[in-house]
């Protein structure tokens, strides 16, 4: 069973979702929880069986799909993807368990299970086509969740979300096809397997174009400034569970893909584009933090804060050294936990008051002390206080990038200031002061079902903040391999010096680089 655990992880929820249609409406909730729990246990089992000393892929499966074009069903995990898969299973579980009273609950649970399949698929896929398939499939359930259960502007928001991200990924698909074509030119065989692509050394000019193509797809998904405007709408209109999954997992696809594709495939281009991307990331951090400060709607604050934090993740990724990349992967997990929790918390108050405007609240700390406490902890985590989960990631990301640029890190570091400003301001508006609205006077505190989601998240937030080593170990091992490979593969002097040499044996077979002229001639024919 362990040999196929990844396929089980991917397809079990989808299968269960299909059966879910047949389940009685009254028992669908427990059915959903049961399926999601099994999925989560499977994910935990994967972690147990995972050998954290191995840097390469584990639990690989290989089934040929289209042999002529080298399209195969290949899945596998390493330290980079393992924890995101576990996190996605975890969020599906607590998401379903804490689902409130909504209409068409059956459809919602089925959709969530289907979504879980696509998420697991994206992070486990090691074939570009399979990856692309899951990547696009993940849009569908999200579109449905926003469009069916969203707020008043849901149609606009969901269509915008879908078309925007879809456009980006089409550009990415073109990039993938080109990549496979280059592979064909170099070796005479077609292959879409990422691990095969890793062995390819591309001339710098090709790298730049391909990097740009992949960048479009990833950047919109992240979302990077200036491609971020779909996100506030999507978050603003999505139901709580939709926002949670979107922020916690779906956004991570973009940053994960940067590490899985862009860095190892195009090391020279990564170095070439490092500064522009870092500048974008810094704009993202500061600008969206300021926009978040201007918001009147608490959910929008959290949404924009999400973008701001993603900026730090991007920055860590493009630090191009072990510290930075490890930090950015850890921050993906951290941000997933924290922003997921914050969206849950916003959902709690929205369920009670059916408004998200901060001016409607005030003085909640005295009415809902437990809620205020949990919100406070998550707020501090979001601000990046040490001993919470976010700090570890942010610290490592910024530390990593400091090696590349002092000034830019100093600017990016303002994240900890501007982050504190909007978060504290929002907290003050909502929880401090005296109660001004009569409706707020008798709000019930968080109930059991909400605690099911919030307590584990709080525990994780602090546990991983104090003892991040459990995650950092495996991540570090895999990242070292990636960085080592990037150093080996890089062609330009600049890249060699920017990417540290982590001595690991990396096998590099083909080399388009040696005769780029010939290849470009071939292309012209």
């Amino acid at each position: 069973m362990l040999d196929h655990i990844l396929s089980i992880l991917i397809f079990f929820p989808a299968l269960a979702a299909v059966f879910g249609f047949a389940v009685n409406k009254n028992s669908i909730r427990s059915y959903g929880v049961a399926v999601a729990t099994i999925e989560f246990v499977l994910a935990l089992w994967l972690w147990f069986a995972f050998d954290s000393n191995v840097s390469g892929m584990q639990f690989m499966e290989h089934i040929p799909l289209v042999k002529t074009f080298g399209i195969n069903y290949i899945v596998g995990v390493d330290g980079i993807s393992l924890f995101i898969i576990i996190l996605s299973a975890f969020f599906t579980m607590i998401g379903i368990a804490s689902l409130g009273e909504i209409k068409d609950i059956k459809n919602m649970i089925v959709t969530l299970l289907f979504l879980q399949m696509t998420m697991a698929g994206v992070f486990a896929a090691l074939d570009a086509i399979v990856f692309y398939l899951f990547w696009e499939l993940s849009l569908v359930p999200m579109l449905y969740i926003i469009g069916a259960w969203g707020g008043p502007l849901r149609i606009y928001a969901s269509v915008k979300f879908f078309l925007y991200t879809f456009t980006g990924s089409l550009v990415m698909l073109v990039g993938m096809l080109f990549m496979a074509y280059f592979y064909y030119q170099a070796t005479g065989e077609w292959s879409f397997a990422i691990l095969d692509w890793y062995r390819l050394i591309l001339p710098e000019s090709f790298q730049l174009w391909l990097f740009a193509a992949f960048f479009m797809g990833f950047a919109i998904k992240v979302p990077m400034f200036p491609f971020h405007t779909w996100l506030p709408y999507a978050h603003g209109q999505a139901p709580t569970i939709g926002s949670v999954i979107l922020a916690a997992i779906l956004l991570k696809m973009g940053t994960y893909a940067f590490i899985r594709f862009s860095l190892p495939l195009f090391p020279d281009a990564s170095v070439y584009f490092m500064y522009p991307i870092a500048v974008l990331a810094i704009i993202m951090i500061i600008y969206t933090a300021m926009v978040a400060y201007a918001q009147k709607d608490i959910k929008q604050v959290v949404a924009y804060s999400s973008v701001s934090h993603m900026g730090v993740i991007i920055l860590g990724t493009f630090a191009l050294n072990v510290e930075g990349i490890t930090g950015s992967i850890f921050l993906m997990i951290a941000h997933g936990v924290v922003s997921g929790a914050l969206f849950f918390l916003v959902g709690v108050i929205y369920d009670r008051r059916h408004t998200k405007y901060m001016s409607e609240f005030g003085g909640l700390a005295s009415v809902m002390p437990r809620y205020a406490t949990i919100f406070g902890i998550m707020l501090m985590a979001s601000v990046g206080l040490p001993l919470t989960i976010n700090f570890v990631g942010e610290f490592l990301s910024l530390l990593g990038f400091y090696k590349q640029s002092h000034i830019l890190t100093l600017l990016a570091g303002t994240a900890i200031i501007v982050g504190a400003i909007y978060m504290l301001a929002a907290y003050k508006k909502m929880f401090f002061g005296v109660i001004t609205k009569e409706e707020n006077r008798n709000l019930p505190d968080v109930n059991k079902r909400e605690l099911i989601a919030l307590i584990p998240l709080t525990i994780i937030t602090i546990w991983l903040g104090v003892y991040p080593k459990v995650l950092l170990g495996p991540i570090n091992t895999s990242v070292e391999a990636v960085v080592g490979m990037m150093h080996e593969k890089s062609l330009t002097q600049e890249a060699k010096s920017r990417i540290p040499n982590v001595t690991k044996d990396v096998e590099v077979v083909t080399n388009l680089a040696e005769n780029p002229a010939e290849n470009s001639q071939e292309e012209a024919h």
Binding site: K160, L163, Y164, F225, P226, H228, T229, W230, Y287, M290, V291, Y293, A294, Q295, N321, V322, E323, T326, G327, A365, S366, P369, T373, M380, L385, P386, L387, F391, V392, F395, L396, L398, L399, G400, Y402, K403, T409, L410, G413, T414, I416, I417, A420, I421, L424, A425, K428, F431, F432, G433, V434, Y467, P468, K469, L472, I475, N476, V479, E480, V502
Partner: protein, 640 residues
């Protein structure tokens, strides 16, 4: 010894969690007593460690577990008890134990009693982490931890707008400085490859002076925030919105001195960069004078003491900057005792006066509050630096340091400030305890605080009086770690002239204050007197207009800029572009929809038109392919 170390460190945490357990329930005394008792244990453990360090001269160094490890970075949870940290531990645990016990009485009537103790103990824990950590990252944990607790405690009465505002201000100001600190830490890591104090400091002498200067500057920026040095000082006065025990513990004795601790801890670094040290000293002297001047006129009892704290922090930085680290640390310790005492006394007064803070509305309180009167007067004497109280030994030493190091400007500034210090301290004492009983006009019936609160304060009183006598023992202990420079004025004549002159100067200032503020003419100022309308007074009472400047040009600008970013740029430009692109497609569809009129005849026309287009394309490409050679030669002939 490790056991004592862990006990000293973790018992406040246990106390905090214990009190937090009762957080949401009704007030119970036990939520205050248990944390206080646990702090007592922590105090005893610290004391045992102190004795051990004193006698064996050995430090205790433990590594609890790994915190972060990635790439070459390795950060453990490591703790060290050496001569410096044990001093700080003693100060922290002692003052906090006193404050805890005191707060049981002070917070007696407050709804958030349990919550208060939870926060307070959490603060002590953070402070202990800060001082005991053996690496920069651990220091940063404590650093941010105390910031968090400070935020919680300043905003403790969260229903008050001013309190929450002050809390956020403090947190954000500290964050600005923390960024500097973080950058300093990054610099240390990338240049020395480690964050452990020992290895990092060992590697520093081989580094370039530029790098060291930057490290020193950035770390000091961190210290500036926490110790409220100019220009990040405004939060400290506003932080007085918190309950008075908090002011005593956090904003006088411990947290604000963390910056001084950092500089002392990083003494091997600052020894290498004397220019930065001089800057620190100059800034310290400036802040000492600057803060003292604001304290002269302020009409809020707690704010006066807060400015006095600021001023004394300036003294400490002056000493530390000049390389006299042990002197700075000594003043830190002495200051912690008498300043905490002063604050707690002020707390008693506040209690008695129904939270009235304006000393002009008090007067003559010595009759009803004997104990408090004695304590506050002695604390003020200590603060003013009169022989033989603690302040004399530590503060005089700083003056001597400045003199011996030939920094006469700093010396004279500090000397002048000493006079100011004496003046405003006794202005306060005189206004509160002497003169007419002006409070009667406001119908207040003052009463003395609980007895056990006074008893709780007594250790501080004792130490404020006798701390000076530990000077030599202390010197011997600390200088095993810090540079053991003794500061002696060369000729004994100069020494005596200086000392006696200072004492006289200070004494005169005290007398002047007494004379001015015990007179019967003192009225509650109503903004009409000549002095109140003078430029100098206005400047001082408005804190040099710095808070207003921040509000007008930074806070407001930030808010407006944010609004512009959102409404103008994000919505009108970025999002509008995206929607614009989508609109192009949409409009194209909308326009071309006319083609699908359903009228077959029209559609046939379009069909023909489409055919024509395609055919012409075919012909054009056919021709282009056929004559490609000619076209190329033609184009090259044109020079394209």
């Amino acid at each position: 010894m490790e056991l004592f170390l862990y006990t000293a460190l973790f018992s406040p945490l246990v106390g905090s969690l214990f009190a937090a357990f009762f957080g949401a329930s009704k007030k119970t005394k036990i939520a205050g007593i248990v944390p206080s008792a646990l702090l007592g244990i922590s105090l005893i453990s610290s004391f045992i460690l102190l004795i051990s360090v004193l006698t064996t001269k050995e430090t205790v160094h433990v590594e609890m577990m790994t915190w972060m490890a990635a790439g070459d970075l390795y950060i453990p949870f490591g703790f060290v008890v050496d001569q410096v940290s044990v001093t700080m531990m003693m100060v922290v645990t002692l003052v906090s134990t006193v404050v805890h016990v005191y707060a049981i009485g002070y917070m007696d009537h407050d709804k958030g009693f349990n919550r208060f103790f939870s926060y307070l103990s959490a603060f002590v824990f953070s402070m202990m982490v800060l001082v005991m950590s053996d690496n920069f990252a651990g220091l940063f944990i404590g650093w941010e931890g105390v910031g968090l607790c400070s935020w919680l405690l300043i905003g403790f009465w969260y229903h008050k707008e001013s309190a929450t505002w002050a809390a956020n201000e403090a947190f954000i100001m500290n964050r600005i400085a923390d960024l500097g600190m973080l950058i300093g830490i990054f610099l240390v890591y990338w240049n020395t490859g480690t964050l452990q104090y020992e290895q990092a400091f060992a590697a520093m002498p081989s580094l370039e002076i530029d790098v060291l200067t930057w490290i020193g500057i950035f770390l000091f920026i961190g210290a500036m925030g926490k110790s409220a040095q100019f220009p990040l000082h405004t939060w400290l006065a506003d932080a007085m919105e918190g309950p008075t025990p908090v002011s005593a513990l956090i904003h006088a004795a411990t947290m604000v001195t963390a910056g001084v601790y950092l500089v002392v801890r990083a003494s091997p670094l600052y020894d290498l960069i004397p220019s930065v040290g001089l800057f620190i000293a100059s800034l310290g002297a400036f802040v000492a004078l600057f803060a003292a001047s604001m304290a002269l006129v302020n009409r809020d009892m707690k704010r006066v003491i807060a400015y006095s704290t600021l001023s004394q922090l300036g003294y400490m930085f002056a000493a530390a900057g000049l390389g006299a680290y042990w002197v700075a640390l000594f003043h830190l310790m002495a200051h912690a005792f008498f300043k905490a005492l002063l604050f707690l006394g002020a707390g008693n007064v506040m209690h008695a006066m129904d939270s009235e803070l304006d000393p002009f509305k008090m007067g003559g309180l010595r009759k009803v509050m004997k104990g408090t009167f004695v304590m506050m007067t002695l604390a003020s004497v200590a603060l003013a630096g009169i022989f033989p109280l603690a302040g004399f030994f530590s503060k005089d030493l700083i003056l001597e340091v400045a003199f011996v190091e030939n920094h006469y400007i700093i010396y004279s500034v500090l000397l002048f400030t000493a006079g100011l210090t004496a003046f405003y301290s006794f202005r306060l004492v005189a206004l509160i305890f002497h003169g007419e009983e002006r409070y009667k006009l406001f119908g207040i019936h003052p009463h003395e605080a609980y007895k056990f609160m006074l008893i709780a304060m007594s250790p501080l009183l004792l130490l404020a009086i006798i701390a000076g006598s530990f000077k030599m023992t202390y010197f011997e202990m600390v200088t095993q770690l810090l540079p053991a420079t003794e500061y002696h004025v060369h000729s004994s004549l100069t020494y005596w002239i200086m000392t006696i002159g200072t004492q006289l100067f200070v004494g005169l200032a005290i007398l002047y204050a007494y004379k001015k503020y015990t007179s019967r003419d003192i009225k509650v100022p109503d903004g009409t007197s000549k002095m109140e309308n003078s430029f100098g007074y206005k400047l001082l009472i408005n804190q040099y207009y710095i808070p207003r400047f921040y509000e007008e040009y930074i806070v407001k600008a930030y808010r407006e800029l944010s609004d512009i970013f959102w409404t103008k740029i994000d919505q009108k430009i970025v999002d509008a572009t995206v929607d614009g692109i989508a609109n192009v497609f949409y409009q194209t569809g909308e326009r071309t929809r006319v083609m699908q009129s359903g009228n077959l005849s029209t559609m046939l026309k379009w069909m023909v038109a489409g055919t024509v287009t395609l055919l012409s394309l075919a012909v054009a490409f056919g021709l282009a392919a056929r004559y490609s050679g000619e076209i190329k030669t033609f184009l090259s002939g044109l020079g394209v």
